[in-house]
Amino acid sequence: MEDCLQTITDYGLRSIGIGERLLPRNDFTLCQQFTLIGSGMIWNIYFGTLALIAGFFLAVAVALGKASANPLIRKPAEWFIFVFRGSPLFIQFFFAYFLFLSLKGSYPIFSPLTSATFGALTVLFLNTAGYSAEIFYGALQSIPKGDTEAADAYGLTGWSKFRRVVYPTMLRLAWPAYTNEAIFLFHSTTLVFFAGFPAFQQKGDALYYARYFADKTFNPFVPYPILAGYFILLTLVIIAIFGWMNGRLNRHLPSATRARLRFRPQLIR
C-alpha cells in the first residue's frame, strides 16, 4: 500500500511531465498501471473539455450559417459540416499535421500547432464543431413555429429574438443528441497520440500509457480494461453534468413534459 502511494507521487502527474522521468521498466504492478493510465486521462480531459467548449460557440455560428438564406454564408457552412462529418478523424489528423508543419515552415508563429497540445486540440475543436453544428441545425429546423410567432407578436427582432427565444429552444431540443456528441468527442481524444501526433518525452494520454504497458507486459487483458474502466467513469460524469444542465434548460416546463423531452431522436451525433 505504501509502495502504491509512492508510485502515485512518482507517476500521478507523469503525463504532464511532473515526477519520475523514466517510466517503470520492469516488475510492473497493477498500481503502476492504474496510476499512469489515470495520469494520462488528464490529456483526454484536457482535449475533450477545451474542444467541447470552444467548439460549442463555433457550432452555433455554423448552424446559423447553414440556416441562413444567403448562399454566400450557407454554402461554406454546409461544406464545413460535410467535410468534418464525412471523413474519419484520423485522416483529418493526418492532413492537419502536414498542414501545420508547412505553415510552421513559412510562418514561425504557427510552430505550437505541430505539438499535440495545440495542434490536436485545433483539429478536435473543428471536428466537434462540425458534428455539433449539424445537431444544432437540426434543432433550429424543428423549433415550433408557435414560438417564433409569439416572439414576433411581442415585437422581438434580431438579436433579442435570437437570445430570448430561438437560442434557448434550439439548445433544449438539441441537448440529448449533443450529450452523445460530447461522449463521442471524449472517446475520440484517444486517437490523438494513437494516429495523429507524436508523443513528446513519453507524455501521452491514457491510451498511450495503456499501450505502453500492453507492449511491455505483452498482456492486453490488464491495461485496456483499466482504460475502459476510467472511460466508463468519465462517461458517467459527462452524462451527469449534461443531465443537470438539461434540467436547468427545461426548468420552466411542467415535470411531465420534461420527461418527454429527454429523448429527441432528431439527431444523435
Binding site: S188, F221, F231, I232, P265
Partner: protein, 294 residues
Amino acid sequence: MFGNCADPGALDGLAWLGCYLTTGKHMSLYGSLGTVLLLLAITAPTALLFGFGGATAARSHVAPLRWFGKTYIAIVRGVPDIAFFLFFVIALDQGFEYIRHHVLCPEWPDTVRQGNDFVVCAQAKLPLGNSPQWVHETYGFLLAVLTFAIVFGAFAGNVLFGAMRAVPRAQLETAEAYGMTRGQVTRRVLIPQMWVYALPGLSNLWMVLIKATPLLFLLGVEDIVYWSRELGGAKQPQFTDYPHPDWRMWYFGALLVFYLCFTKVSEIVMDRLMARLTLGQATAGGEAQRRAGA
C-alpha cells in the same frame, strides 16, 4: 499485369503509372475496398439485431434480463471503440477456443493457461492449424464483424430504447383497448411504429460506423487504410520495382474522397428512407408531407 510492365525502370509517365497502379499490392488495395463494404453490409444488420436484443432486454419485466440489457448498453457505450478493439478480439478468439477445447478434448491432461501461453488441443484450434489461409482470413473477418456488431449494437440499443419510448402512448393504449396482449402490442404496434423515431439516430450511427472502419486493422483485417499506408509510405517502395518518395498525401487524399462520397450517398439514401417512413405519421414531418400533398 500487362506484358510491358516487366521492366518498370525503363518506363515513364503514364505507362509507368499504369503499371504501378496495377501491381498485386494495388489489387489488394482495391480488393480491401470490397472487404470494407462487405463488412459494413454484414455488420449493420447484425448490430441492429444486437441493439434490438439489448433494447428489448432493457425494457423487459424480468429483472436480470433488464439489468443485462442496461449494463450491456451502458458499459459498451462508455468505452472508446479503439480500447475495445485492442483486446476484445483476442479475448473472443480465446473464448471460442476454450469452449471447443472443453467440448472436444475433455480428457486433455494439461491446463489451458500455461504461464503466458494459451494452449488448447489441436482439434480445438480455430481455425484448425492446417486449414488454408483463406479460412484464417474469413475467420478473422467474422471475428471483426462480431466485435463491430457488439460495439455498435450497444449504440443501436440506446437509440432503439429511446425510440420505443417515443412511440406516442396513445397509440399503444388504443391497441390495448382493442384487447391486444402486451406481446401483440409490441409486435403489431410498437415495433412497426418505432422506426420513424429511430431512423435519424440510426442513420447517424451508420455515419459513425463508416468512419470507424479505419480501425479494422486493429482487428487483424487488412483494410483500405492499411494498404494506403503500406503503399504510400516511403519505406517499402525502395525495395520494390517502383521506388517513390512519401506519397501518403495522395493515398490519403483518395481515401478522403472515398469517405466523402460514401457519406454523400448514404445521406441521400437515408433521406429517401426517412421520407418513406414519415408517410402518414403523426409527426411534424408527416404533417408537412400531408400538407404538401393536399
